[in-house]
C-alpha cells in the first residue's frame, strides 16, 4: 500500500459540462435529479438542478475515485490501505441506500399518484418526500419557536444516514461544495448566498485567494475594549 502522504493524483477535475453517468441508471439519475430539485428548488436564483447536484452525487457514489480531490484541484487522490477499505464499505452501503431510496420514492409515488416519482408535479413530489422523511415539509424560520435544540457537530460522517438525510446532505454538498467534485456548476451555489469562493483550490494554497477585505481595516483595540481605554490605551 501507499502511504496516505503519497497517494497519487489521478483523473481530472469533473468537467462542468460532463453529462455521462458513472453510477446511476438513467431512471435513477432522473429521479435523484428531480428529488434534489425539491431539496434546493430553483426560484429567482438557481437551484440544485442548475448546480448539477445529481452529477456530484453520481460521482460520489461511483466508487472511491472521486472521494478526495487533490489539494490543488488538479485531479483526485487514489486511496489505498485501510482508509480505502473503509471508504469502499461506506460507498457500497451508500449505493444500496440510494438504490433502495429510488425504489421507495417510486413506490410511494405509485401508491398515491402513479406511475413514478419523476412524472409527478412539484407538490406531489413534496408529498412523497414528506412521507419518506417522516416529517412535514419545513416551514420558514420564525422568530419564536420552541422545542429542544439538538447540538451540531463540526464533522459529518455519512455512515448510518437514512436515504432522505443522505439526499439532503449530498444535495447541499453538490450545491455549495467546490466545483471540482462536479456540483456547484459555475459557482451558482456560492452566488446564491453571497459567498465569494475561490476560483480554484490552488488559489487557496498560495495566497492568491483572500477574504482579508472582509475583516475590519480601521479599528483600534481601545475603541473595542473599554478596559484598555481606562488602562491608558495600547
Amino acid at each position: 500500500m501507499t502511504s496516505m502522504a503519497d497517494w497519487p493524483i489521478v483523473l481530472a477535475p469533473v468537467d462542468p459540462d460532463a453529462a455521462d453517468r458513472l453510477f446511476f441508471t438513467d431512471h435513477e439519475w432522473d429521479t435523484i435529479e428531480a428529488a434534489t430539485t425539491r431539496i434546493i428548488p430553483t426560484d429567482h436564483d438557481p437551484g440544485a438542478r442548475e448546480a448539477r447536484a445529481v452529477r456530484f452525487i453520481d460521482r460520489f457514489l461511483s466508487g472511491i475515485d472521486y472521494v478526495y480531490a487533490a489539494a490543488d484541484g488538479s485531479g483526485f487522490l487514489r486511496m489505498s490501505g485501510k482508509l480505502a477499505d473503509a471508504w469502499r464499505g461506506r460507498i457500497a452501503d451508500m449505493q444500496e441506500t440510494y438504490r433502495r431510496g429510488v425504489r421507495d420514492l417510486d413506490a410511494i409515488a405509485g401508491q398515491s399518484f402513479g406511475p413514478d416519482f419523476v412524472s409527478l408535479s412539484d407538490d406531489q413530489q413534496d408529498f412523497v418526500l414528506e412521507r419518506i422523511s417522516g416529517a412535514p415539509k419545513p416551514v420558514p424560520v420564525v422568530r419564536d419557536a420552541d422545542g429542544a435544540n439538538p447540538t451540531i457537530q463540526v464533522y459529518a460522517f455519512d455512515d448510518g444516514l437514512s436515504f432522505f438525510d443522505a439526499l439532503v446532505a449530498h444535495t447541499r454538498q453538490g450545491f455549495y461544495g467546490d466545483p471540482v467534485y462536479g456540483g456547484n456548476r459555475g459557482r451558482v451555489g456560492w452566488d446564491v448566498i453571497g459567498f465569494p469562493g475561490p476560483d480554484s483550490l490552488k488559489d487557496t494554497m498560495d495566497g492568491t485567494y483572500s477574504v482579508r477585505e472582509y475583516y475590519l481595516d480601521d479599528y483600534a483595540w481601545p475603541d473595542l475594549i473599554p478596559h484598555l481605554r481606562q488602562a491608558g490605551g495600547q
Partner: protein, 565 residues
C-alpha cells in the same frame, strides 16, 4: 502475522506525535536523548496536502479519524450496551489535533488547579486538586506561547493571571461579527478581549502569516500561519538528528519486563508487520481516550487489569468539554458575513470563576465565532429542504453569529473509557467504549452560560436566538477535548501518575497528554497539555534521565496557601 527485524533499543519511545508527543520530542531531542516517535496516522505535508476544500476536510473527514477504521462506542449508563458513535474523533496523524484546530490558546487559571480545595467534596463528583499549581506551569505556558507561536493582546483580559512574558504577536484584526460582539459586551459591562490563538499574525521565526482564506476551523493550513506541532516542534526535533519518526505505525501494546518495568512497545507498521521497539522510557501521548485504551490493552502477568492500573483508576474520571452555544440570527441591512475570520473572535473570562449565586460551581470562557463555510454552516432547527431551507441560507448565512463555551464538566468516577467487549477496530483490537453521564452541575453550568450567550446576542441586536443546552444528559463528543482517564496526584491508591506524569506503578512509563488532568479546567486544553508535557519532558531530560529523582512538595495547592494568598 509477519515479523520484522527488531530495531535497536533507544532512550525514549513516544507513542503519538500530536500536541504532547511533538512537544516532548522537541524537548527530549534537544536535550540529546535518542527518541523514536511512533504515530499511527499519516505524516502529511502542509504545503502540499492542505487547501480550502470544504467537502474533503469537513464532510469526508480527510483529517478526522475514520470511525470505520477506529470505531468508538458510547453509552450513558453502566448497564447499557454501548452504541458505535463517532465521539471526539481527534485526527490521528503527525501533529494530531493541532493540524485541524482553530487554535484556541487560552491559559488556565489558578483556580483550575485547586477545585477540591475551593469547593470541597461535591456529591456525585470526584473533584481533586492537581498536584501542581498555576505557578509550577507558568514558565512553561510562556515557553509554549513563544516557541510555538501565539497571537494575543497584552492587558486586554482584565481577569488574566500572572504572565512572565507578553504575547509574541498581536491579534488578527476583528471581523464584523467580532466587532458586534465587542460592542454588545461593552453595552452589558462585560470585559471582552481577543482570545489568544495559536497562529502568528506577523513574520515570526521564519513563518510569514499568509492564510487569509478563512478556510480555517477543521482545515489544514498550507501557509504555516497556524501553529501546529506538524510545522513547528516536529521539524525542530528532527533537526537535532535525534528523532526517528515512524508514521502509520500502530502501537498495540506496551510490553513489560520480568521486573515489572516497561520494556518497550509492539507496533504494526504500514505493511502489516509486527515490530517490537525497546526503550529505556515509554511516553504515552495518544490523547486521553487512546492512552487509556492502550494501557487497558496492555495486560501482563504483573498488570492483569491493564498497565500501571493497580489503583483500578485507569480510564476513570474522563471529561470531554462538550461545546454548547447559542446562535443569533440578524435581520438588519448590514451583513455580519458568515465566512471571514479564523473561527475564533472575541471572548471573555468574566464568568469563569465560581459565583455561588448562580447555584453551581465553576464557569466558562465564552467566545464568539464565525459560522463557517456554506455547506456546513448551520443553526439548530434550520429548515432542511425546500424553499424554506433555501431562504434560510440566503437570508441568514451572512447575518448570523455564534457565542459558545466548552463545558468545564466535573469529573465523575463512573464516566470512563474502557474496552468494548464486542466492537473491534480495523486491526481486530477492541474499540474504546465511552461511558458518560453529565453531572447535574454540568447541566446547570451550561444552562447559565448559554443563557448569558443569548443575552449578549440580544444586546448585539439579534432578531432570533437559538440556545443549545446540555439537555440530553451526556456529552455528544463534539469537541476534541479529552481529559482525565489517567489522573496525576500524590496518592498511588487513587491516582495513576505522580506530579511528573510518571506512573506510580511503573517508573519508566509517562503519560503526557490530557489524560493526566485531575479536573477538566474551563479552557481549551491544548496549551495546558503542551506546557505540562514540556514541564515533564524537562524533568525526564534533566532529572530522571540523569539517574536522579525529585518530588514536588505535597499539598501544593492546599488550604494553607489559599488562606495566605
Amino acid at each position: 502475522m509477519e515479523y520484522a527485524r527488531k530495531p535497536d533499543p533507544v532512550d525514549v519511545v513516544i507513542v503519538g506525535m500530536g500536541a504532547s508527543g511533538g512537544t516532548a520530542a522537541k524537548v527530549l531531542c534537544e536535550a540529546g536523548l535518542n527518541v523514536v516517535g511512533l504515530e499511527r496516522g499519516p505524516w502529511l505535508r502542509s504545503r502540499e496536502h492542505f487547501s480550502g476544500d470544504e467537502i474533503k476536510f469537513l464532510n469526508r473527514t480527510y483529517l478526522w479519524s475514520d470511525p470505520r477504521v477506529n470505531p468508538r462506542t458510547v453509552r450513558t449508563e453502566e448497564n447499557e450496551t454501548a452504541v458505535p458513535t463517532p465521539f471526539s474523533m481527534v485526527p490521528q496523524m503527525v501533529g494530531g489535533g493541532t493540524v485541524h484546530w482553530a487554535g484556541w490558546l487560552p491559559r488556565p487559571r489558578p483556580s483550575d488547579f485547586m477545585m477540591r480545595t475551593l469547593h470541597g467534596d461535591i456529591e456525585g463528583a470526584s473533584l481533586a486538586d492537581w498536584p501542581i499549581t498555576y505557578d509550577d506551569l507558568e514558565p512553561y505556558l510562556s515557553k509554549v506561547e513563544w516557541a510555538f507561536g501565539c497571537a494575543g493582546l497584552d492587558g486586554a483580559d482584565k481577569y488574566e493571571p500572572y504572565r512572565s512574558t507578553p504575547y509574541p504577536t498581536p491579534p488578527l484584526p476583528p471581523t464584523r461579527a467580532g466587532k458586534r460582539f465587542y460592542e454588545a459586551c461593552e453595552k452589558l459591562g462585560i470585559n471582552a478581549m481577543p482570545i489568544p490563538q495559536a497562529l502568528v499574525s506577523q513574520a515570526y521565526r521564519g513563518r510569514t502569516p499568509s492564510n487569509w482564506t478563512s478556510f480555517w476551523n477543521g482545515y489544514g493550513d498550507p501557509s504555516g500561519m497556524r501553529s501546529s506541532t506538524l510545522d513547528t516542534f516536529v521539524p525542530e526535533a528532527l533537526a537535532t538528528g535525534n528523532l526517528d519518526l515512524r508514521s502509520e505505525c500502530y502501537v498495540r501494546e506496551v510490553t513489560v519486563g520480568p521486573d515489572g518495568r516497561a520494556r518497550g512497545v509492539v507496533y504494526i507498521d504500514a505493511l502489516g508487520r509486527e515490530i517490537e521497539q525497546d526503550a529505556t522510557l515509554v511516553l504515552l501521548c495518544l490523547g486521553a481516550v487512546e492512552s487509556a485504551r492502550l494501557m487497558l490493552m496492555s495486560k501482563s502477568r504483573q498488570f492483569p487489569d491493564g498497565l500501571a492500573n493497580s489503583s483500578g483508576q485507569v480510564g476513570r474520571n474522563a471529561t470531554f468539554h462538550e461545546y454548547l452555544f447559542a446562535v443569533g440570527l440578524f435581520n438588519d441591512e448590514q451583513p455580519l458575513y458568515g465566512f471571514p475570520g479564523n473561527y475564533i473572535s472575541g471572548g471573555s473570562f468574566q464568568f469563569y470563576e465560581t459565583d455561588y449565586d448562580r447555584g453551581h460551581i465553576g464557569g466558562a470562557l465564552i467566545g464568539a465565532s464565525h459560522v463557517g463555510q456554506p455547506v456546513n454552516w448551520n443553526f439548530p432547527g434550520r429548515p432542511a429542504w425546500g424553499s424554506a431551507g433555501k431562504d434560510a441560507d440566503r437570508d441568514f448565512y451572512n447575518h448570523a453569529m455564534k457565542i459558545g463555551h466548552t463545558l468545564h464538566d466535573l469529573p465523575v468516577a463512573s464516566n470512563r473509557v474502557d474496552l468494548d467487549p464486542d466492537v473491534k477496530d480495523a486491526w481486530g483490537l477492541p474499540a474504546a467504549r465511552i461511558t458518560h453521564k453529565a453531572h447535574s452541575n454540568d447541566i446547570a453550568l451550561a444552562k447559565w452560560q448559554v443563557d448569558k450567550n443569548v443575552e449578549i446576542l440580544e444586546a448585539a441586536g439579534a432578531w432570533k436566538t437559538i440556545p443549545v443546552y446540555l439537555e440530553r444528559g451526556r456529552a455528544s463528543g463534539n469537541t476534541c477535548h479529552q481529559h482525565g482517564t489517567v489522573r496525576m496526584g500524590t496518592d498511588p491508591a487513587n491516582t495513576v501518575l505522580n506530579e511528573w506524569c510518571q506512573a506510580h506503578d511503573v517508573d519508566n512509563l509517562y503519560v503526557l497528554d490530557g489524560a493526566s488532568f485531575p479536573t477538566a479546567t474551563g479552557v481549551n486544553p491544548t496549551l495546558t497539555i503542551m506546557a505540562n508535557a514540556w514541564r515533564c519532558a524537562d524533568y525526564i531530560a534533566q532529572v530522571h534521565g540523569k539517574g536522579r529523582r525529585e518530588r514536588l512538595p505535597r499539598a501544593r495547592s492546599g488550604p494553607q496557601q489559599v488562606a495566605a494568598s
